[in-house]
Symmetry: C2
Subunit: 338 residues, 2 copies
Amino acid sequence: MPVNIRDIAKAAGVSVATVSKALNGYSTVNAATRAKIQRIAEEMQYHPNSAARSLVGQRSMTIGVFLTTGLANPFFAGVLGGIDRALKDRGYDLIYLAQAHAEEPGYSLMRHCRSRNVEGLLVFGMQENDMDFSELIGSGLPVVFIDMEMEGEHVGMISSDNAEAIRAEVQHLAGLNHRRIAFISGIAGTYPGRMRERGFLQGMAEQGLDRRPEYMIPGDYSRESGYEGMRRLLSLPERPTAVICCSDASAVGALEAALEQGLSVPDDLSIVGFDDVEAARSVRPALTTVRQDMQGIGYQAVGLLDDLIRGEELAEKRIILPTEWVERDSCGPAKESR
Amino acid sequence: MPVNIRDIAKAAGVSVATVSKALNGYSTVNAATRAKIQRIAEEMQYHPNSAARSLVGQRSMTIGVFLTTGLANPFFAGVLGGIDRALKDRGYDLIYLAQAHAEEPGYSLMRHCRSRNVEGLLVFGMQENDMDFSELIGSGLPVVFIDMEMEGEHVGMISSDNAEAIRAEVQHLAGLNHRRIAFISGIAGTYPGRMRERGFLQGMAEQGLDRRPEYMIPGDYSRESGYEGMRRLLSLPERPTAVICCSDASAVGALEAALEQGLSVPDDLSIVGFDDVEAARSVRPALTTVRQDMQGIGYQAVGLLDDLIRGEELAEKRIILPTEWVERDSCGPAKESR
DNA sequence: TTGAAAGCGCTAACAG
DNA sequence: CTGTTAGCGCTTTCAA
C-alpha cells in the first residue's frame, strides 16, 4: 500500500538507483532530475521503509533505551523529556527494550539490540550490580550509561556532579554556623549514592567539622527512610542542627518527623534535600534543595551516544553536569542550642 | 557479525528454508531435525533480524507510542509502567515516535508508522483537537487512544471512569452534609475534563443541590489554577464548604490558598483532589482523593491494541476502568457556618 | 520431509 | 550523470 522507491522511479521516469541517490543527497545527480524526484516523492508522500534500509546495512536511525528500574519510575520523566528533544535534533527514533524481557533465562540485551538493529543504547536506572553489562560493553555497540559508572571502548556515561552538590551544601550550612551536620544517605550501591556520600565527607573535612558515625544514617531515597532516619537523629543525646538528605522524598519524610517532635524548621533544625521535585515546593516549609538538570542529562546523553555512534573522536566520554542550589525555606542559621 | 539463518543452516547441514520452518513452528518439519536446529540455534545464540522479518511482510512485533504532550509529563509514568508489563506478556517492543518530528511541515504520523513497520499505535496526551488524527484513523492502522474520545474501524479507547469518580465525590460530600460544593475544573478540551465536569453536574443534580455558576471555576490541572480558583471562591459573599478539584496539583494549590486565608482544612472547608500522586500524601492535611489505576490503563491499552492487531472480534472497543476512593484528611463534615 | 529460488524495499558498486 | 544488478536476512511458494 505505501509507495515505494519503484513507484516514484516510474513516476519520474528514472531508475530506482537515481531516486535513491537523489533522495539521499548524492552530488552525482543532475540538479533538475533531483528537483523533479524530490517533488514527486513529496507529492506521492513517499517515506522510505526503515526495515529495508537497515537491512542493506544502512543506518537504522534507531537508538534503544533500557531502564533497569522500569518505566514507572517518575524520576525519569525529566530525563526522558530531554531525550525527546535530542531525538528530534539528531533524527533518531527510540525503541524501548522492555525490561520485562530481561528476566527470561537466555536473554541477552546485546542480542536484543542487534536483532532490532539498534545503533546505540542508553541505559539507566539504579542497579549497577544487579545486572551484568559486560557482554554489552564488550560488544562494541555504543552505550551511554546515565548515573552509572561504566567504562569501555564505545561506552560513555553522564551524571550530575553529585559530590560537588553535597559538598556545597555542607559549605553553605557551615556558613550558617552549623557544626553538627547529619547525613541521610542514598543507596550505597549506586553511583550517585556513593558520590553524594563522598561529597559530604569531603565537605565536612574542608570545613574542619567532626564526622560523627551516629550522624551518618543509611537511607534509600524513600520518604520512609527519611522519616526513620530523622527519628534516630532526634533520639540522639546530642542532636544535629542540620540534616542533609539525599533526595527530596527523604527530606520530606525527615521534615515530617521533625515537625512531629514539635521542632520548628528551620529555626530549630535545617533540612536540605536533593533533586527539586514538585513536592519540594508544596511542602511547608518549602524545601531548600539542589536541582539536577534532568532534561540536560537526557539531552546530552543522546548527544554523546550519537557522537559515539558516528565514531567521533571524543576527548572525554564522561559528562558531569553542574547542579543548581535552590534556596527556599528549610534552612536557616544555627541556633546555639540543644 | 551476528549469526544469521544461513550460519545455522550450514551448521545443521540443512537448508535455510528448513531452519526457518523449524524455528517458526511449522509442523512439516521432522521432529529430530527440528530439535537439532533448535539446539544449534540456541548454542550459536541466534536471534532473527527483525528488519528482515518485517521486510518480508511478516510481523514486526513493534508497536508505537505517540505522546501528544511529550515524554516529560510525569503523569504518564504510571501508565508507561503498565505498558511495560503488557509488552512482555504480549511479546512486543515499543517504539517511541518522537513528537518533536510532528512539528515538521509535511509530517504524517501515519506515514511515520508505516515507514517504521509499526503494527499498531498507542496515542495519549491531552490535546484532542490540536492535532488531526483523521488520516491515522482512516488508515486502517490499529490505534488505541488513552484518555481521548475517538472512534473508528480499527480504533479503541481506554480511560478511567472519570464521571463516576466525581459523581461519587459529590455523593460523599453530600453525605457529610455539604450543600455548597464548588468545582475547580480540568481542561475543557480534554475528554477527562469533560467527563469530570459531567460527573459533577450529575452528582449535584442527584443530590438535589444547587449548581451555582460562581462555584464552577475553570482550571487546567495546575497548582496555580487551583490556587487562583480557591482565592476566587473565598472572595465570594457565600463561600462553599467543600471544593472538588480535578487534579491533586490543583487541590494542593487550593489548599495552600485556603490555609493562607487562615482557614482550617477540613474543619472550615473540605477539599478533594484527583489522581493520587505522591504529593497528595505529603501535603498537610493529606489529601482525600481518587486514584486512577494508571498501571491498569497502560496494561489494558496494550492488550486492546494487540486484540485489534490480531483482528479479534471485539464486542467493545472502549474500556472504562473504575477508580478508587482514597480517604485521607482533607474532608470532613460540613460546619453549619458562615 | 526437505530444498531451490523468488522477492520484500532499499543502497552500493560498477558500467555505460 | 544515469541505469543495471547484486544482495542485506528472512519467509514462502513450488518442486522434488
